[in-house]
């Protein structure tokens, strides 16, 4: 296992707390100009939470609008018409995708945990890490500016030619996404270099925790796919300014090419979102079941192969766009390849839990919710990947419910599983576990109530992005709106007890969950330099919990 050098035992309730990364320096600039990966992780945590809040408010707005068939907030009969609804779902999508989900786990959790797991003092390029946070901030502020000057109403996909014609501020939003893209690229570069160069002594590639593998695979996608999004939004901005015509049929261009470019990034981006979530679940499931991960090597390979396969399936977003039938068949076939590594992961988690010493803690409840919802998301993906059924389901609520199962029900839930899992290590404080369990159940329930009706009405043909609808779907929409508010309650409760715990939570004991990887072997919370000893990994069995029984005996 890990090194035998003991960590100084933290005395309970001593008057002067031991120094850690949180209290070693104080003041605004010690945070704003910090190069410490743990503090940057916290700044990301605060940032993405705010973005999530904004995106969530837009989501509730969408659900309120759809409470009645003729709309609640925007009515066709009113002076401004229904246009505001288009802006609302666009901003919901853009904020949630570009400002919350993509940076959430890599920016906040991996920033904190990855260097610790590798026994490193910091990420390889700390200045770049800080720069990537400020790029995120700049991009987000620019996006907010673009809301004020004319919120985009194109959908988060910015499909041409409408995005060229619209009067809203596509240029500043495009620029915001260009900047956010570079923030994501820099985060990815950092993690690749860190995994390659800063592993602890004795830590071979197959002695890295699976979270590191997942983040590594994500980082490859961030580095290779995001630049194509960058050039695409740049060209889109040029279209808007000069009508260069590459994507505009009125000037000889081809809007389908825009979709190719957009999805060359945005399909891998789906895995930029889900892969780190899978990594979090691997850690949580192992620690809270007290069992080594089942099929470690296959899990590692499947993380990488999901990443690679994600580059050759993007055309399944374009089955009704007019790309060639031949390419559609190829994309449909390739899409099914993703099922193999994904199923390996799902089965491995279940096999890890099997006969484990399961603790139904808050992080574990979130992980269980992930396993359920991710199965739904994955299996409904099969209908959408199959060419013929997708023609029927394309652009319906079935698609909406499918990708929310993956992005919200899986990635966001995995993010919250990770937040609850590492919370005692991040803050040295513990939240109220009863409330945490209640909110986990609320979120799972809320998810099901919101999105199962959407699957149903989608399969019956309810189109997405409509501000009003036929009365036959009113029942489904009403249930869905109720579900959204259950979800909202769950998140509000979570926000409440988490913030409360930072200021008034119980002090968390050393290695709160009894994790075996290096992130739990350091002080709680860690010191500025992470380790006061030289971490060494001596065994292949990195998820070895035998030390817990030995501790008990002693």
């Amino acid at each position: 296992m890990t090194t035998n050098v003991p960590v100084a035992d933290v005395a309970v309730e001593t008057s002067n707390e031991p120094t850690n990364y949180l209290n070693c320096k104080r003041g605004f600039w010690s945070w704003a100009a910090t190069l410490d990966h743990k503090r940057i992780g916290i700044m990301y945590l605060v940032g993405v939470t705010l973005a999530f809040l904004v995106g969530g408010i837009f989501a509730l707005g969408i659900r309120i609008q759809l409470w009645s068939p003729e709309g609640v907030m925007f009515k066709a009969t009113s002076e401004d018409g229904l246009a505001g609804y288009n802006q609302m779902f666009t901003l919901h999508g853009a904020f949630m995708v570009f400002m919350f989900i993509i940076p959430a786990i890599p920016g906040a959790l991996a920033n904190f945990a990855l260097p610790l797991m590798l026994g490193a003092k910091d990420v390889a390029l700390p200045r770049l890490n800080l720069a990537s946070f400020y790029l995120w901030l700049t991009g987000t502020l620019l996006a907010c500016y673009s809301i004020i000057t004319g919120a985009v109403d194109t959908g988060w996909t910015f499909y041409t030619p409408y995005s060229i014609q619209t009067q809203q501020s596509v240029i500043s939003m495009g620029l915001a996404i260009f900047i956010l893209g570079f923030s994501s690229i820099f985060t990815g570069m950092n993690f690749i270099v860190t995994c390659h160069k800063l592993r602890a002594r004795g830590q071979t590639w197959f002695r890295m925790p699976l979270f590191c593998w997942a983040v590594y695979s994500t980082a490859i996608l961030q580095v290779l796919a995001t630049p194509v999004l960058g050039i695409t939004v740049l060209l889109l901005a040029f279209e808007h300014m000069y009508h260069i015509g590459i994507f505009d049929p009125a000037y000889g261009g081809d809007p389908v090419l825009f979709q190719h470019f957009f999805w060359f990034y945005s399909h891998p981006a789906v895995y930029i979102m889900i892969l780190p979530g899978m990594g979090v679940i691997s850690e949580v499931v192992s620690v809270h079941s007290r069992k080594p991960l089942f099929g470690y090597r296959l899990m590692a390979f499947s993380a990488i192969s999901i990443g690679v396969i994600s580059f050759i399936v993007w055309g399944h977003h374009m089955f009704t766009s007019g790309q060639s039938a031949f390419v559609m068949m190829a994309f449909s076939f390739l899409t099914f390849l993703v099922a193999i590594p994904t199923a390996i992961k799902e089965f491995s988690w279940v096999a890890t839990i099997w006969k484990g010493s399961i603790a139904l803690t808050a992080p574990m409840l979130y992980a269980m919710a992930f396993l359920i919802i991710f199965s739904i998301g994955g299996l409904t993906g099969i209908f959408l990947g199959a060419l013929s059924t997708d023609i029927h389901l394309h652009d319906t609520y079935f698609v909406v419910a499918h990708f929310h199962a993956v992005m919200m029900g899986s990635t966001a839930v995995a993010f919250f599983a990770g937040v609850h899992h590492w919370w005692p290590q991040i803050w040295g404080k513990m939240y109220n576990e009863t409330l945490a369990k209640i909110s986990a159940v609320l979120i799972l329930t809320g998810f099901m109530v919101t999105f199962l009706p959407q699957f149903m009405m989608g399969s019956q043909g309810m189109p997405r992005r409509y501000a009003t609808y036929l009365p036959e779907w009113e029942g489904y929409h009403k249930v869905s709106t109720v579900g959204a508010f259950i979800l909202g309650t769950g998140f509000a409760l979570m926000m409440g007890y988490l913030i409360h715990s930072i200021f008034a939570g119980k002090k968390a004991k050393q290695n709160y969950w009894g994790g075996a990887t290096l992130d739990w072997k350091t002080q709680t919370p860690p010191i500025h330099e992470n380790f006061d000893f030289d971490p060494v990994i001596e065994s292949d069995n990195i998820y070895d919990y035998s030390f817990l029984t030995e501790e008990k005996k002693a």
Binding site: L198, T226, I246, Y251, E529
Partner: protein, 230 residues
């Protein structure tokens, strides 16, 4: 907070020492980490330009006459001159990195100055090309309004604006990279003059050198695709 020993790389006479950052074990780990990070950045540059290249090839396949006709309007002598200028600058950059690795400060600064001058020369040539194109109205997209005999030449060509959209976009983004490269090289000259870069610490010169070679690399492909459209 614990501080380890201050680790420095060997510093030749007359240069400033370089302290290895605290989270690295040694200078070797630091150098290779930074270098891998930079290669990954260069990979993103490849993907970024790759997108426009993909679009170029697709529309070249759709409207071949447009692209041939458009390419004929560009000046091959000027394009060739710029190619030679950039290749020269790439060579002097490689020599500058070499001088840095050998701690030859004067030679390094000399080569960097020549590189910077070449980059400036490239932009001057580009300026003359751009002004000529603006004068003739050979502009991208909606600004396309060819004057005089140019209007006649493009009368029977499908979407002539599209070729110039590619010309302006590709050379424009490349030009921005040249300007950023000039800023970076100027910083090298400034800091190099103070003796910061030497055999024990050549990473900044090395990496900006790599960046400059990428700028050259992209031009190597842009030149035949735009000026010698096949």
């Amino acid at each position: 907070m614990s501080h380890g020993p201050i680790v420095q790389t060997p510093t030749p006479e007359g240069f400033r020492p370089h302290v290895v950052a605290h989270h690295f074990h040694d200078a070797n780990q630091e150098f290779h980490s930074v270098k891998l990070g930079f290669w990954l950045f260069l990979a993103t540059e490849v993907m970024l330009f790759g997108g426009v290249f993909a679009a170029y090839f697709i529309f070249h396949g759709q409207y071949p006459e447009t692209f041939v006709k458009g390419g004929e309007q560009l000046s091959v002598p000027m394009g060739s001159l710029n190619t030679v200028i950039l290749l020269t600058s790439s060579w002097t950059m490689a020599m500058g990195v070499r001088a840095c690795q050998l701690s030859q400060k004067k030679q390094m600064l000399g080569f960097l100055w020549v590189t910077l001058l070449c980059a400036g020369g490239f932009l001057v040539v580009k300026y003359f090309e751009y002004t000529a194109k603006i004068e003739h109205g050979l502009l991208p997209g909606s600004f396309w309004h060819p004057h005089g005999h140019y209007a006649e030449e493009f009368a029977n060509v499908e979407w002539p604006n599209l070729f110039f959209s590619f010309y302006w976009t590709m050379t424009g983004i490349h030009g921005v990279h040249v300007i950023l490269g000039m800023l970076a090289i100027s910083w090298l000259i400034w800091q190099g003059g103070k003796g910061r870069f030497h055999s024990g610490f050549s990473a900044p010169v090395d990496l900006i050198g790599l960046y400059w070679h990428i700028v050259d690399l992209i031009w190597i492909f842009l030149f035949p695709l735009l000026y010698l459209v096949p």
